[in-house]
Symmetry: C2
């Protein structure tokens, strides 16, 4: 097997890339799709569940998929400045890809509301970071204005090139499973991802690479659930900072993806998010950021109400599917290292011991007695 | 191209894995090997330079390569507890792989001297974390004693299974380049990695997958450079916490790798490390932890004294090589997200602005005027 050379090279035929496009890549994509057998057992073995771990992208989140395309295209068009608003992951990715492209990157973020890891990335990659006293939605409004008035490339997911890159997540899932899953679950903030994934599935269906389209389930945090509630939220609040967005830019496309796929939006509480966060790290070996855990929390909540089994049985009757259980993919969008504070608050550090084998042995025996 | 299924599946024939071994994987390996053209230009285009970015492994460092093999083998032997001492990356990886294997993981770390990201990982993955008042070397002495006295699997790189996994980094480099590089540069702390990489190159040479062996260059931080000085250091000190080790466990093997490959050990200052750290993030788009930047600092220091060109010319005369410039690979062992504090200290956060386009525009214009 040849080594991976980045998603633009791999999916070139499906992307708006020409021989003239300078490819700006950090070898993003080709992320793990892990079978979650323990989770399946926990839920009564009624589904085949896979976790798509996007945390192994170069900057630690799915945003790199969109950014390799957006920055390559911006460079092709002669841009030398990229701007974006961000809850953190977009800024980390934009800063990294602009730096390797030799472009200036300017980032507008809500002050004091970015996870430490993400902020450290944007700063390290040399972006011009502008923290503003306001929300993500305020930050987005500012960069929209800037890109209207100045010769700069807008790198938010309003930029259609971003969506083209991000749709490759759906391609990879289909390539690994040899078809689309029955259900595709993902966290939804600004709604660029759900828009792009739906685009990817439809494109693969059109060229015959998959036999059916999946049902899309978008998960939001209860305190930041405009799509679930059907109206913008003015003060979104949740531990899952990456999806703390009250007014999604891709509102209409998100509803379209849900409706066309016969899917749902669902809200989960911060407690459910933390439980899913703990479960993923401690049982599946996957450390994710809280927004990613929201996707699993949504899966667990819907599984409890029998949603997957019932919906699948209905489809079975309609389409005579050749499998007896639904295939469910849950997208884990970002790495847990993005937000070390949440981890250190959730899992407190034990007390310091004297440096002797006896002291450690005592702790070990106690803990092993408890398990 | 098929999707990647983890390094044990890919390199099975080169690993101590049988049909009986339960494979514990998070799809580690297959990390980016990036051509660093900008760095080449900076150094006068006298070398072909590649950066092997190990930060995209599931837990963010090369340690996952060794851990997938070590935990799989421990499970095969019936172990249900794994222990290790760590400066951070080993504990993060051991905790993750033990959690997915269903094993208990106990970790001994020097109190107060672990980067926040790494500590958050070990805790999140549910390991029993024992911070001790002492150094890494003290921690290692403790777990060695524990593994002698209790039925636990030692997961430090003293465990030969770890080295087998880690050698696959050399395999991937050779597979991507279609031969070994002329020089292979890496940071050296406990010296498991230099031992394993040399093992990998020799194995590939033996089966004819490569035509020659590389020269190995091991880089240490000036304040923690026992191999450079030829004697253990009792109070190692450096910003590069991952290689803050005064008494490497694989001392003898490290010297052997250096001597057999006709290589060198070299020390770099913390200032040089921070400069290389900044360069990688701002010019190559790669955010690494300080220990990884040490490798590049070593490369830069040796390039300045003409080491690569001179050594390569000598080899040219001896072996009549078919290339006119040396191929150099620099291994970047871990992700910058492992250590957000160092980033936030190195790159200070600008002041908060009012949430208006005008305020952001002013900052942008100022900054762009400066560039």
């Amino acid at each position: 097997m040849a080594m991976w050379t980045g998603l633009i090279e791999h999916y070139r035929d499906f992307l708006p890339i020409s021989q003239q496009t300078p490819i700006v890549t950090l070898m993003e994509g080709n992320t793990p799709l892990l079978r979650a057998k323990r989770l399946e057992a926990l839920l009564g073995d009624r589904m085949e569940i896979y976790l798509k771990y996007e945390g192994t992208n170069p900057t630690g989140s799915f945003k790199d998929r969109g950014m390799t395309v957006a920055v390559s295209k911006a460079l092709e068009r002669g841009a030398w400045v990229g701007v974006c608003a961000s809850t953190g992951n977009t800024s980390a990715s934009a800063a990294a890809y602009c730096s390797v492209a030799g472009m200036v990157c300017a980032i507008v973020v809500p002050a004091g509301r970015i996870a430490a890891g993400k902020l450290s990335q944007a700063l390290a990659h040399g972006a011009i970071v502008c923290p503003v006293m306001g929300s993500f939605d305020d930050a987005l409004a500012i960069v929209r204005r800037l890109s209207d008035e100045m010769p700069v490339a807008l790198l938010n997911s309003l930029n259609p090139d971003r969506l083209h890159g991000q749709k490759t997540c759906a391609f990879e899932i289909c390539d690994a499973l040899k078809d689309a899953p029955d259900f595709h679950i993902l966290p939804v903030g600004n709604a660029g991802n759900i828009t792009s994934h739906w685009m990817g599935y439809r494109q693969y269906r059109q060229v015959g690479r998959i036999q059916h389209l999946p049902i899309l389930v978008g998960v939001q945090a209860a305190g930041a659930a405009p799509l679930v509630k059907g109206q913008p939220i003015s003060n979104p609040e949740t531990i899952a900072t990456a999806i703390r967005i009250g007014s999604p830019a891709r509102w209409q496309e998100a509803y379209q993806a849900k409706d066309e796929s016969d899917g749902r939006f669902v809200a989960v509480s911060d407690d459910e998010i933390v439980n899913a966060y703990r479960y993923l790290a401690q049982k599946e070996g996957l450390f994710v950021e809280p927004a990613s855990a929201a996707a699993l929390a949504g899966l667990l909540s819907l599984a409890r109400e029998g949603y997957f089994t019932e919906t699948f049985q209905r489809r079975q009757r309609q389409h005579r599917l050749d499998r007896d259980r639904p295939v469910v993919v849950c997208v884990l969008t970002g790495h847990g290292l993005k937000d070390p504070q949440t981890a250190l608050q959730t899992f407190p550090l034990p007390e310091t011991l004297p440096p002797t084998p006896e002291a450690v042995k005592r702790v070990l025996k106690e803990a092993m007695g408890r398990t």
